[in-house]
Amino acid sequence: MTPVIEGWFTTGAEPRLLASRCTRCSNVVFPPVSSAAGAAAFYCRNPACDGQEQDSVELSRRGRVWSYTDAQYQPPAPYQPAGDPFQPFALAAVELPEGLVVLGQVADGYGVSDLKVGTEVELVVETLNVDETGERTIYRWKPIAGQEASA
């Protein structure tokens, strides 16, 4: 199992997203600014700050749904479907305590009927697709058990 992209999330029992934090003003950015992925130098996005140094920080595991949808048709390449025939999947934009909204797929087995604006979710890591190197993993949002989704 290999993350489909390097440096965006940790794995293990309690995975977390990784962000870049400006060392001068503390503004955090996701996806992280990775020169390994070909990014130019880090430039802080805060117009009042000219910071060019960043630390890698973990974001909160839990957040609340800003909005959500699903993909009922197979998206075009470079999306690689997990299997054949294509299985629809849900997507959620999640507001984190760090003040940003992060898009992600919703965990396997959950659909739009399990979600509402405001639903609490947590980060999990699951298989996105399988290629010649094996399983490629991605972060996903999973509704926290015990919530009334229809509340």
């Binding site: 997507l91 003040g99 797929q105």
Partner: protein, 394 residues
Amino acid sequence: MSVVITGAGMHPWGKWGRDFTEYGVHAARAALADAGIAWADVDLVVGGETVRNGYAGYVAGSTFAQALGWNGARIATSYAACATGAQAIDTARARILAGMSEVALVVGADTTPKGFLAPNAGERWNDPDWLRFRLLGMTNPAYFALYARRRMDLYGATSEDFAQVKVKNAKHGLANPYARFRKESTVAEVLASPVVCDPLHLLDICATSDGAAAVVLTSADYAKRHGIASPVTVAAVSTVTPTFPNTVIDMPLLATDSSAVTGVPERTFKEAIGQAAYEEAGIDPSEVDVAEVYDLSTALELDWIEDLQLCKRGEAEALLRAGDTTLGGRIPVNPSGGLACFGEAVPAQAIAQVCELTWQLQGRAEGRQVEGAKVGITANQGLFGHGSSVILSV
């Protein structure tokens, strides 16, 4: 000094796959004929660059100038994704205001591929427009669906409301000779079409089209000297970019800025686009008679109505249900039929909005006229921070 539109012209929207130059020349000649100005008198051509999913395509300014026959005019090419046309108009306006141009021709034209807009080939692990497909399978309609679902959960919008936007726009476009789809629609028909991205059905989402639009801009003084009838004043062209932090998720990005350091801004990006236009024009939202907004989805039209301050946040459904946004209502929206009837031809679309408002303010929008319209506003937003809103007045 002010800048006026002296002529507007379009090539009908459709799907033929021919060279975009053909559509552009047709629209350009129609606009020049409408203005009664000879091509030889044009001293500036601004072309809206053709695009393939957010990437620059062809050098449009010189393409159109060459196709019309080199006349020595200066040229410029604008690229601002869906907002390309407005930026092209802004460039032409600036040169006229600076006294560096008398007659400017602005042209946008495109031909588009079938199906979902997909990114260009090749692996680009640092490009959000590639990563959103590779990592998340996040298509354009999925972004539209996020905004639509939020309206449902926050403001009580229903699928029937979204369908009603389509029904309204389909009716508006019936008499528009430039619209690609000219057929009435029903709520039942929209709801029976397949769900693409919940809650949006296929008929809630606009198609991609071939098409072209052009306008001729001159100074008000030039129009007067040449006895041009009923010029329309360009009261504002807003092409603002976002202000940090941009806290609404924007296509094709995977996350918003963080508001933790600076707090949530007073206005969202889309609200700021319209506000900048109102301030530049010195016009209040209550003075607007007609609006052409970018209905990439039915639900997005409702967002724009609020972003342009034509009603309060969360009240667009009430406006729609009361018939206020229908022809004959208080503030008709998309009398042209909008993208619902046109489908999107990216570099032409913002210019097409301006063509429609020009004809509306001249009282020439046959079969879809907003009676007595004096002030009109357009709005759209392009990928990567391109805003556009144009206010016209007579």
